[in-house]
Symmetry: C2
């Protein structure tokens, strides 16, 4: 998504050229290219798929809507398995229209996970609950902190449900370092994503994630914190950024790889 | 600030007409009108002054800048005393340019409070640390949760330093209800402010606070939660909202008073 201006063949080729060993994929471009063809493309390029984004949106109260959401998440789990990734990222969903009950919405996520977790486990896919920044609590994700995500995940086996640690969403939280340790200790860090925090936020607050090094987050410290739990794995860089999207995608990928080397290590 | 389009005489007159018994003031319009004149105006109108906004911005590292901030906060404390309010709201300040150390910035706030708290206490003014929503952590306020605000406040006597409970900033936080109880138990709820959460956020994320009842926050539940601690006091409605500011101020005040009656009680 950092370089969504690239087609899948352009993306995989650029990753290979730059020595980027793995890539996180989103469902929409995979679907547009064709699931089997996309799986073959990344496999032939020798790229690992870090994760598939995204399932989730599990907070609806309407029974038909809930059934549709479960079906869609089962499909996403199947897609992840086909792509050869072990991780499906979940964005939990916001408050249903007219509702003001965050706690009940979080409980409905748990209800859905009880259905989806075994389905995922049977297919070798781990569900990764992503806490989103509290500014998205109403309309996108009622899971706002790493502790909240862990409170949900820990109801299920660690090889079925874990969390995403994304610096953009949790950097401000003085309890997040302890939550990272908690997640690491139980093997629940299923994805580790980086983006920097820059201001001012754009309208809608969705596409202002900063290039690594441009913002307020000590990315090196966060990497060290995650690795201190014994975690090893690929680190994803996920930048929703209008400025980056407007530029040449290969150039952005090259810049991002350079920042990754300079700012994270 | 909800009706900043009104002059101070228009505001006090409209409050009196609508039966609004108290008003929160901001320093800039008070200064523009004249401090002594403003104090006389609210006194003659029979209005209580709930609080003065705002002091703070205490996170600078540069010694000269820190000295200026302390001077400015002493002035704000004096102004609060002159206006006859017992509460000065503090917005703590963001990260200094180039810094990524939130913990150190929070510690510098404590250092400043050690100087300002006794000064305020001698003048009968309580400092109220306002946690702002985490989306402001980098550039406006490194104090993002009610617990963080209390961790700072509890280093000082409760009649010198407390907190602001503002629904807009803390509504998403599942730990905030316990923090409200914690604050209430030690007599540290020095201000209680309401605004609703509406989306999408405007660019800059500053002026999108929702009119009471328009958004995702259960305002009645928050009032009951605060009052359950034994708190009694005036409740402030503080809406930064471009749409409301563009309308007739008296009409907005009347609408807000109506919403207050319908949505909060």
């Amino acid at each position: 998504m950092t370089v969504k201006q690239l087609t899948l063949p352009e993306l995989t080729q650029a990753c290979a050229s730059l020595g980027v060993p793995a890539v996180g994929l989103w469902r929409e471009p995979v679907d547009a290219y064709g699931l089997e063809a996309a799986a073959k493309l990344v496999r032939d390029t020798g790229l690992a798929v870090t994760s598939l984004c995204r399932g989730g949106f599990l907070t609806a109260t309407d029974p038909a809507e809930r059934a549709r959401a479960l079906d869609d998440n089962r499909a996403a789990i199947d897609e992840a398995a086909t792509l050869g990734t072990d991780t499906l990222v979940l964005v939990s969903g916001g408050l249903p229209a007219g509702s003001r009950d965050l706690a009940a919405a979080r409980e409905r996520i748990a209800d859905a996970l009880a259905v989806l977790a075994p389905y995922a486990g049977e297919r070798g896919v781990r569900l990764a609950i992503e806490p989103l920044h509290p500014m998205y609590a109403a309309d996108r994700c009622v899971v706002s902190t790493l502790d909240q995500a862990l409170d949900l995940a820990e109801r299920f086996p660690a090889d079925q449900v874990g969390v995403v640690v994304d610096t953009y969403h949790i950097w401000w939280d003085d309890r997040a370092p302890a939550a990272v340790a908690r997640a690491g200790a139980s093997g629940r860090i299923h994805s580790f994503q980086l983006a920097d925090w820059t201001t001012p936020l754009p309208a809608g607050a969705l596409s202002g994630r900063g290039q690594l090094g441009d913002g307020a987050i000590d990315l090196r410290e966060w990497r060290e914190r995650v690795e201190a739990t014994g975690w090893t794995g690929f680190i994803e860089v996920e930048l929703f950024n209008d400025g980056l999207w407007a530029r040449d995608g290969v150039e952005v990928l090259e810049e991002t790889a350079g920042r990754f080397a300079d700012e994270v290590f």
